[in-house]
Symmetry: none
Subunit: 324 residues, 2 copies
């Protein structure tokens, strides 16, 4: 055997079980091979190492001192391999689902629905970690991230949850529906959402309502849609909003969309996790449930399209060229 080379790995693996049980027969059973195979693998190993690992007796084998010594290493090594493989293919916490997502999505949509999931799945606990930052899977606790983005995350798998639409939103008391809308909107402060999906929106918005784009940013800027919604509800101004966050408030009459326009957002909600996580039972259940819940948003959007006269889509495409 060459120096710094390992002997045949299959032989070492056979040795593991033979040394553990001190029986080639038992080892063969554990390995699902014949006794002869184990006998030959041990022989191969001994020849490879040029030393004897077992003393042979008629009906049993006894480890030599070298055999005993080697077994301590071999045992640990194969345990490590099994552990490593186990950790990447099995769910370490089958009864706990750790989810990271945007605070806005958590508070305005997800939290109020989780009760239904938990009623359905009694043995799965949910841990919700709202975070603006992109959470890392490296700490090994996080199972799933529901992210608002473009669906490409290095080393992770992502599945589209639903597509987002942007519509103008303000408080109903700020608008007199009997008068022309654009002039009224032109007088309202714009509350700018700092989200990545909004960056391209404001120049277009000014163009649409006939105002001159201000040289300075909006006086009120928020980095979280939750805050933005509270600002709108308290009549602070107008903004472009993701439909998923406001459709219920529109249905309740708490907010309105003063203009019949919408934009398809280039950012959408995705389920994001290491690929193996998608195979966990809890993930399969949650995903299935969540897709069902999301149907409500999609149905509501379809209804909104139907009921909104003169609704038209504003295209982003030429705007994106200006950005680059």
């Amino acid at each position: 055997m060459k120096k710094n080379r390992l002997p045949p790995l299959k032989s070492l693996h056979a040795f593991r079980y033979a040394a553990q049980s001190l029986s080639f027969k038992t080892a063969a059973e554990q390995l699902n091979v014949t006794q002869a195979a184990v006998s030959q693998q041990i022989k191969t190993l001994e020849q490879s190492l040029e030393l004897e690992l077992f003393e042979r007796h008629t009906r049993q084998v006894v480890l030599t001192s070298e055999g005993e010594y080697l077994f301590t290493y071999v045992s640990q090594a194969f345990d490590l391999l099994e552990q490593g493989v186990k950790e990447i293919i099995e769910d370490p916490n089958p009864n706990k689902l750790v989810i990271s997502t945007l605070p806005s999505f958590a508070s305005r949509w997800l939290v109020s629905r989780l009760g239904r999931f938990q009623a359905q799945e009694q043995n799965i606990d949910i841990q919700l970690s709202p975070s603006l930052a992109i959470a890392s899977f490296q700490n090994q606790e996080l199972d799933l991230s529901i992210r608002f983005g473009q669906g490409q995350y290095e080393g992770l798998k992502s599945e589209l949850l639903f597509e987002e639409e942007l519509i103008p939103i303000c408080h109903p008391s700020l608008i007199d529906m009997k008068k022309p809308i654009p002039p009224q909107l032109a007088k309202l402060p714009i509350i700018a959402d700092n989200g990545p999906d909004m960056k391209a929106v404001w120049p277009l918005f000014h163009q649409i309502i006939g105002t001159e784009e201000p040289l300075t940013p909006s006086r009120l800027q928020v980095s979280d849609s939750t805050v933005l919604i509270e600002a709108l509800l308290s009549c602070q101004g107008i903004s472009m909003m993701r439909y998923s966050l406001v459709y219920e408030l529109i249905q309740k009459g708490q907010l309105i969309s003063p203009l019949p326009l919408h934009m398809k957002s280039r950012y959408n909600f995705y389920l994001v996790a290491p690929a193996p996580h998608f195979k966990y039972e809890k993930m399969l259940k949650f995903k299935h449930w969540l897709k069902g819940e999301v149907k409500e948003i999609q149905a509501s959007w379809k209804q909104y399209q139907k009921e909104t006269k003169g609704l038209y889509e504003v295209d982003f495409n030429h705007i994106s060229n200006l950005e680059d």
Copy 2:
């Protein structure tokens, strides 16, 4: 892949190098196989685990998070295997040689020569453990046993060092060379060596010097040749001795062999150790040196044969039948 089963070990080993170098090409070089082999082994592994361990780019590969995680385990595991194998086939103490041998051989022959070995090999320390008992290699410290025996030791390898001859020995002052020798010897007490090689000697010896074998053992018996030699030097009687132990004393005139006879001993000196030890560099050096030193005994014996008129060999063969 079945639960609690390891993926193909060869694939894991290929993964080890690919993950380490982030190059299938480099891994292939390290494994002495083709790049295609590595590519296929990684693919096999990924299929086995049902997940991706590498993202493929045109001219390189990048580990996925699963791949990175698995690598920590795989790396440790194979390091352990290599370490275990290394420890049982490599010399743990390359600069120290631990030798067990008979006290007589140690004190009368070996000790006085070790200075020459140590002058020649500055970086090898010798630890000499004289012992009548057969030393065990199980404590992992003992490198070599120079044993007096028949060369068969279970689980150990033995190499003949030299063949031993037995001759009658006494102090020169006890014999008048001008008178017939056997009657003088018949009057001397026999100092019996309890060594295994001597057991068959005494009946034959009595026969040769014309005395009746005593019904009781010799009044003086020793279990160590060193003591026996001291007894002979102090004129206590006569004995059969191994030539290797006395040839220098004969040359100095301190002892004589009163009868021109010799017997080939059935016991000889062997180098005995686990087979892997014989490959250690220090062992190779020591063995080579020792064989050179032993040539002196062999040369002296040849000289003794030449100079001893009427020297004849006494055959053991019919005696061995009586013993069984």
